[in-house]
């Protein structure tokens, strides 16, 4: 005798309880605070804010805690929260030329107005495990502070622009940018939507695409024109005031990749741009994004589209890790009905094959 299993509701409750217990881990170890995650896991928080499309370090830290450190799960939590928030204003475009610089480097000029500022970077660290971090530090490390430099830090692309050596910014200043979280994405997408998609896109996916185009699955020989990291003021124009007011500061990483272009029938030889931008500190993502942005502009420069990184439908359709993770993992849901259909099919095909033999 068989009684159909009726355990779904109870199983879910028990699974949730077990998950909560495992998230906490050994209760003898002090619980992580949101402040600790926000202050000491900053790059994880920055990634979750960027791909979660929400600039809120406290909530990103909370999401990481709840997700047990799983970045994609934390991004999903933040996105699902973000989608419920009302839109009360759109900010003015931020001016990264006026950024308070934390780090600024250019690989294309030895020196330039404002200079090279190395800032906090892993770049020249030797990747040796620092066993002293296993013990509680007696004293917090401190770096020597230099007086703030008020010298202007014009963007490298703007310097090149004086000579007309680089293409002009393609978007007209007054164009209203699209928002793929409010409007369905259709193809061909504009560069605004492509950049939004890449900014939200999975870091690993964007990195791999950029890498593929560097290795020959693409036609991209970029120079890191400039990478800058720092704070920018975010302004809105409230309707009742009619003039911009600053509502806060956001930390951003910006990358301009510069690619040589030999010219076409309609365009003179010049350098072309690829653009990357992330919340917080994430140079790897910003650089990769800039390379993929330029790859996707193949059509604008009469370049043959032959590789994945140049293919808008391929890149934009598969960059979102919340979508990808959900669809991949839905394979865990029951498929008995479909599988039964396939069983009927395969048995019938086998029976036919038997009779033929």
């Amino acid at each position: 005798m068989y009684v159909a299993v009726k355990g779904g509701e109870k199983a879910i409750d028990n699974a949730h309880a077990l998950l909560a217990e495992e998230r906490r881990g050994d209760p003898a170890v002090p619980e992580l605070s949101i402040a600790q995650i926000k202050e000491q896991m900053t790059l994880a928080v920055d990634r979750v804010m960027s791909e979660g499309s929400l600039y809120d370090a406290d909530l990103a830290a909370l999401a990481l805690k709840q997700a047990r450190g799983d970045a994609v799960e934390a991004i999903f939590l933040l996105r699902a929260y973000r989608t419920t928030l009302p839109r009360f204003a759109a900010s003015l475009p931020v001016d990264t030329a006026k950024m308070t610089i934390n780090r600024r480097i250019s690989a294309t000029f030895k020196d330039l107005p404002g200079g090279q500022v190395l800032g906090p970077t892993f770049d020249y660290t030797h990747r040796l495990l620092d066993f002293s971090l296993m013990a509680d530090a007696a004293e917090a490390p401190r770096a020597a502070a230099a007086p703030a430099d008020d010298a202007a830090m014009p963007r490298v692309v703007d310097i090149l622009n004086h000579e007309g050596l680089i293409e002009a910014d393609s978007a007209p200043a007054d164009a209203e940018p699209g928002d793929l979280t409010r409007e369905p994405l259709t193809f061909p997408a504009g560069r605004d939507l492509r950049l939004q998609n890449l900014a939200r896109g999975d870091e690993g996916f964007v990195l791999a695409l950029a890498y593929s185009s560097q290795r020959g699955f693409g036609n991209n020989h970029p120079f890191a024109g400039e990478i800058r990291l720092g704070g920018v003021e975010v302004e809105i124009v409230p309707e009742e005031l009619g003039f911009p007011i600053v509502i806060g500061e956001a930390e951003l990483t910006e990358c301009h990749m510069i690619t040589q272009f030999t010219g076409s029938k309609t365009q003179p030889p010049q350098f072309t741009r690829g653009y990357g931008l992330t919340f917080g500190r994430n140079e790897r993502k910003a650089m990769a994004m800039a390379i993929v942005d330029r790859s996707l502009r193949a059509g604008e420069f009469d370049e043959e589209r032959r590789f994945p990184a140049q293919d808008e439908e391929f890149v934009l359709g598969h960059s979102d890790n919340v979508e990808a993770s959900g669809f991949l993992q839905h394979l865990k849901l029951p498929h008995y009905v479909d599988f039964q259909g396939e069983l009927v099919n395969v048995r019938a095909l086998r029976a036919e094959a038997e009779t033929v033999r």
């Binding site: 005798m1 068989y2 009684v3 159909a4 299993v5 009726k6 355990g7 779904g8 509701e9 199983a11 879910i12 999903f76 996105r79 699902a80 973000r82 989608t83 419920t84 009302p86 979280t181 409010r182 409007e183 369905p184 994405l185 259709t186 193809f187 061909p188 439908e313 359709g317 919340v322 979508e323 993770s325 959900g326 669809f327 991949l328 993992q329 839905h330 849901l333 029951p334 498929h335 008995y336 009905v337 479909d338 039964q340 259909g341 396939e342 069983l343 009927v344 099919n345 019938a348 095909l349 036919e352």
Partner: protein
């Protein structure tokens, strides 16, 4: 606002309005995939976010909701989605097909015929029936616009040429209202005939792919076939082992490690109703006894 701190049925009213507009357009053009600005839901993509958004947009406080996955009310994801609406909309829920005004489903159409007073909401993973022949959305939209469906017929014909039959057993393509070819979602082809001239409104939501489409009540839905290879549905040699039904879609349950199998109704409500009415299958204890054992 309900006690959860979220709007009724989770989505804000602006979003519901946007989805309702997409639904109205979908009903006006049966089988046409309407792009909509799908939102990120608190459940994962691929787990019914399209169906959930459609349900959230059409559900009212006096609706009675039924949620099934694989025909069953008790599969974990069906439980999860039903709870979501209990929590965010506070609506009554039911497992009885006839008692529901709104049914959200994954992979099945209930066996019991639906009525004009009901709406059936399908969860859709891949809304584009031409996707396996053409990967690009920009191309498939053109093909639909031009009614350029030759590739689909070729695909079905190739099955016959190679294998002697059309081997598509679920998500079997249909033509709606004589115009658009539509993916019925991964329901078994057994369920396809139920879609034709169904009195209930059928709504399809694909959250990840951000598409909504619809079949209005009493609209023709024809499964694609050939004159010499007419469309046919799955059949089994025996009926349901529990209720004896021979007219329902059966699931196969492995009962031992020696190849033992039993076939049971995939529609759990249908099966229970039949057993309550005294129908018995070869492996069933009398209904009252199984209920008591619970």
């Amino acid at each position: 606002m309900s006690e959860t701190g979220y709007n009724f049925a989770y989505l804000d009213e602006q979003t519901k309005r946007m989805i309702r507009r997409a639904i109205l357009k979908a009903v006006a053009i049966p089988g046409y995939q309407v792009p909509f600005a799908g939102r990120e839901m608190p459940l994962p993509y691929g787990w019914g976010t399209g169906g959930i958004q459609v349900t959230a947009a059409v559900i009212g406080a006096d609706d009675t909701l039924k949620v099934i996955d694989q025909g069953a009310d008790d599969t974990t994801n069906a439980v999860s989605i039903r709870r979501f609406f209990q929590k965010t909309a506070g609506v009554d829920t039911t497992t009885e097909t006839a008692a529901a005004s709104l049914i959200q489903t994954r992979h099945r159409i209930p066996e019991e015929p639906l009525t004009e007073a009901q709406i059936l909401v399908y969860q859709v993973p891949i809304p584009e029936p031409l996707r396996w022949m053409e990967a690009r959305e920009s191309e498939t939209r053109k093909m639909h616009a031009l009614t350029e469906y030759g590739v689909m017929h070729v695909r079905l014909y190739e099955d016959i040429a190679h294998l002697g039959r059309i081997v598509k057993s679920y998500d079997y393509p249909v033509r709606v209202n004589g115009r658009y070819i539509m993916a019925p979602s991964p329901i078994p082809k057994f369920d396809n005939p139920k879609m034709d001239h169904m009195p209930a409104l059928q709504l399809f939501g694909a959250g990840r792919e951000k598409r909504i489409y619809a079949v209005p009540p009493y609209t023709s839905v024809v499964s694609l076939d050939f004159e010499d290879h007419p469309f046919e549905v799955q059949t089994w040699s025996d009926g349901c082992a529990l209720c004896g039904a021979t007219d329902s879609y059966l699931d196969e349950v492995v009962i031992d490690d020696k190849g033992g199998r039993m076939m049971v109704c995939s529609d759990t409500d249908y099966c229970e109703k039949r057993r309550a009415a005294g129908h018995l299958g070869p492996m069933s204890a009398p209904y009252a006894e199984t209920e008591a054992a619970r």
